[in-house]
Symmetry: C2
Subunit: 119 residues, 2 copies
Amino acid sequence: MTAQTREDPAAASHRTPPVHTDPADVPLEAALIALADPVRQSLVRELAGAADWERNCGSFDVPVTKATLSRHFAVLRDAGLLEQRDAGAKRLNRLRRAEFDAQFPGLIDLVLRHEEASW
Amino acid sequence: MTAQTREDPAAASHRTPPVHTDPADVPLEAALIALADPVRQSLVRELAGAADWERNCGSFDVPVTKATLSRHFAVLRDAGLLEQRDAGAKRLNRLRRAEFDAQFPGLIDLVLRHEEASW
């Protein structure tokens, strides 16, 4: 991953690249709050069922606006759960399962076992 | 545990008995939110280090008012984490560890492993 720099002309001509937080730097409180929300639980479940970078941001089946969805992705990035990268017009996604599990063992598994959302 | 009834004269002459939620009836969202708060994490850690019914409500070392502490206890009861009973003027506490673990395996352990709070 390249660092985010304001001087990069390629970055400046496109939208802001996603900023990530390493799971090792995430407080337990932030991890639990990120996974408490039913929409974010659904995103994590969909990502867990897909290959890394397979899913783009428009491909998720959740009943929220695009702006709200962006906010949910930001919360997941801040909690060390989600890595994103831009590929042309699409933003691709990867669940940071191994890194997050190392810091918060069992937490993603708990979410995957509880299938509560029904839109 | 006896059920809470408004007709019970003993209950009516004292404060309202605590109302409990079975961990089996607790949504994952409520369990995660209950454990996300640093004060409630501290209460859970203190209860985990004590015997059942050993700790009364005034014995916890957390920097909040009595009213706020009562609210935290209510959230823990609603999340299936805490059982309380009145003994004279004191309200005694028990962490519902086995029942909660059966429903949300590993979640209490995660909180016990993360010692983040420093008042």
